[in-house]
């Protein structure tokens, strides 16, 4: 999931699509507007299907509820589904979220203005998924009685949980991995997110968080002069030299860098937001171990620049650092920003004490004004709470919320069992939806146990569903 303020984009990692049969389909026509009858246009929703291990006599369907990006990218980063397909005799389906990838309701005009963006909501996306699942069950031979399990990570995980909550007739259960369904106003403290980021750095190397916390002032000190600005631009090998007016943006870019590292602090080499070494924050922190009481501003920022290169130039192929983005790729940014500006209002804040960032309050009005100037719409701060039940989700069933202890998004996750069938799993050594990734020799045992438990629940739901099945 991207956070609101900045561009965290994505690109392909390794591609299981290369080695297995994968069908890329433009789905049955979806209504552009499921909730009104004036707009009667339709569009093609893309989805990917793999039947390799499917038991055609009603074997289950694992259905990935696509999030804010090209579905092939999520498909490639959800190895868990590929790993368990054979054991479950499951068909795999990855459904693209409207307005992302190739699933554009108005083609090239989809993002042209507020009128065309009006159908980019989670409710419409959930309705797409329901319609698609029903269509698959009706048309795919052998799938009529297949129990369907929703699986998703991050915003996709929120959608999985919500799909089970709103359409329990369509999916028998949901695995919502690293899904911050409570990261909404008045549900959790806005500062927890950055506290977790800070803890990740604190645990990964002596003085690491302390030195990052000091770096903001050091930037101010050094960039007070033109020489200092020039030095900093050189030290970071920036593609465009810094001007005085760029400083807020430069700091935001650095802050986003540390956040992204916290999200992808995986125990092995991986390429999710960027190609990175194993336990990348540990590698970052090797450059930030100074004794804070003696280090100079120049030394400190030298270390910060080395640390940033771990994230941006692990491959060594990057000639200069570009502060206009924090992750490569061509997906999601504008759409997700629109969603944040409408339904997905997720307050974040920092205080500089419990976290390593410069203090910044959550300012709804400023955010709303920014949304209005960008998109011509204003966010509804309490809509997500109203429509998705907020903290009160006890009456639902068959949902697993898995959370990574290292993942800042666990701040808004469900980390305690709500009932016997709305359960939480915490993976202490896990970053952002580690459990959804392929098995890896470096996986900590906690994620292996989590995956075993997840599959156990899947089997339980499938058994339940077969017992309850309506005849005919």
């Amino acid at each position: 999931m991207e956070r609101k303020p900045q561009n965290t984009q994505h690109r392909y990692s390794h591609a299981p699509t290369d080695i297995v049969t994968m069908t890329d389909r433009q789905g049955g026509n979806q209504r552009i507007d499921h909730f009104g009858f004036l707009e009667d246009g339709t569009f093609k929703q893309r989805y990917l299907v793999n039947n390799e291990h499917w038991d055609q006599k009603g074997g289950p369907i694992l259905f990935y509820t696509g999030n804010e990006g090209d579905i092939t990218w999520f498909c490639n980063n959800t190895g868990f589904m590929w790993d368990v397909a054979e054991e479950l005799g499951a068909m795999l389906v990855f459904a693209e979220h409207r307005y992302y990838g190739e699933s554009l309701p108005f083609g090239q005009d989809s993002y042209s203005d507020a009128k065309h963006l009006n159908y980019l909501t989670s409710e419409q996306a959930l309705a797409d998924f329901s319609v698609l699942i029903r269509e698959l069950k009706r048309t795919v031979l052998g799938a009529q009685k297949s129990p369907v399990i929703a699986i998703g990570g991050s915003y996709g995980g929120m959608l999985s949980a919500w799909l089970r909550m709103k359409y329990p007739n369509v999916v028998v259960g949901a695995l919502a991995a690293s899904a911050p369904i409570w990261q909404f106003p008045d549900m959790v403290p806005c500062g927890d997110f950055y506290k977790i980021v800070t803890q990740d750095f604190a645990r990964s190397g002596l003085n690491c968080d302390v030195n990052i916390r000091r770096s903001w002032k050091a930037i101010d000190n050094i960039t007070a002069t033109d020489d200092g600005l020039q030095w900093l631009s050189g030290e970071f090998s920036l593609c465009s030299p810094l001007k005085k007016t760029d400083l807020d943006g430069f700091k935001a870019w650095l802050q986003e860098t540390w956040v992204n590292l916290a999200m992808v602090d995986y125990p092995y080499e991986a390429n999710f937001l960027q190609p990175l070494p194993r336990w990348p924050i540990q590698v970052v922190c090797k450059h930030l171990g100074f004794d804070p009481s003696v280090v100079s501003d120049y030394q400190l920022l030298g270390g910060i620049s080395e640390a940033a290169r771990v994230y941006y130039n692990y491959t060594g192929n990057c000639p200069c650092l570009n502060t206009s983005s924090t992750a490569t790729g061509n997906l999601g940014f504008i759409g997700w920003y629109y969603q944040a500006c409408t339904e997905m209002v997720m307050p974040l804040c920092t205080d500089g004490i419990q976290d390593m960032f410069e203090p910044q309050d959550w300012n709804f009005q400023a955010f709303s004004d920014e949304c209005h100037s960008l998109f011509g719409v204003r966010p509804r701060a309490d809509w997500a709470d109203t429509v998705y039940g907020g903290l009160d989700i006890a009456s639902h069933s068959n949902i697993i919320f898995s959370n990574g202890g290292l993942d800042p998004w666990s701040s808004g996750g469900v980390t305690r069992n709500i009932s016997d069938s709305v359960v939480a799993i915490v993976i202490p050594d896990g970053a952002h939806h580690l459990d959804l990734r392929y098995n890896n020799e470096y996986d900590p045992h906690t994620v292996l146990s989590a995956r075993v438990l997840e599959v156990k629940y899947f089997k339980l739901w499938i058994t339940q569903a077969r017992k309850l099945q309506i005849p005919g």
Copy 2:
């Protein structure tokens, strides 16, 4: 609930509002569009509140989910809520459905075209109810932790059930009285509705259904001549004499009359669709007891005309019969027709064998074309199934579906227990949501038992809710 093809309108009956304190409020601003952000207008939703018996320390709220008409009319016809308020220490709230009564999103323009009608959907209405309930709990002193129970009859009962299904955080349970949530395509046989109407007449007098079944042909025979047409107009005291081209309309009006009688076949004098005697179908059938093998067409239609007068002129104040409507009032027709033409697609059909009507298939295409010419929209036959779960509602909880054995709408109702907490009550001697009416000395014991059981469930849900309550 009105059926699609004809105008079944309503008017006031007796008014408990005259004898108790009732506050009529224009509710907090509701968004015209809950599901998109382009249309950011709001409107005032009307609701009625009575606090007379409310235990202000968190006593429950009984919340009537208004259906297709002026809310005061439903308020006056839902005496059950008034009867149980004291026992439960409950606040009563009756919320008006958007586009009906005084809750008009665009004022006088609300019905002007498809653009203005676009927000008349059950999903928008459910969102209104959720927003209103949350608003009441936030603003009414003592209501913060009040468990809310949704109650509704007919389409209002469908909304109650759906509110619990879609917003279980907002209401702890629902009483869905005479709510045909399964009267949608491919869920129940389209002919069951008229079969039940026919059975009501068959059980209420010898030869009653047989003579009505014969009457259609008698009408054809007699109206073959101009003299016959004139005779029939006179015999029925029609306000406008029949022309040849009026015959289909005349038959439809009669058919609707029998249907309405089946809906309001109450065991005591009542004024729901019309002022009527107790067990009105028995009174009707006194005029239709002829031996069918010897009666002439003239005699038969004479009896039919007497029977129709029981419905239209019980008060004796009606100088002539008007075939352009079947129930007085100024509510609901166009709005409900629009809803039938969009989401509320309820197939009905007759075969003339198992029912007493002229055979008529369900013709979706013709219906769709009619909708398009009237409103510029086309119905989505399978949307209700997708969005509300169709037959597969077992994963929900705390819903009572009560059904009247005499009520034709029980054809689409849930008449068997689905689980321990999604339960059905059948009231064999009950017509359309008899259980929601005031206690009456002529009530059959089956409706008294039903009400007792309903209150028992209410108390159980309230206890459950208090146990589960989230602190704070």
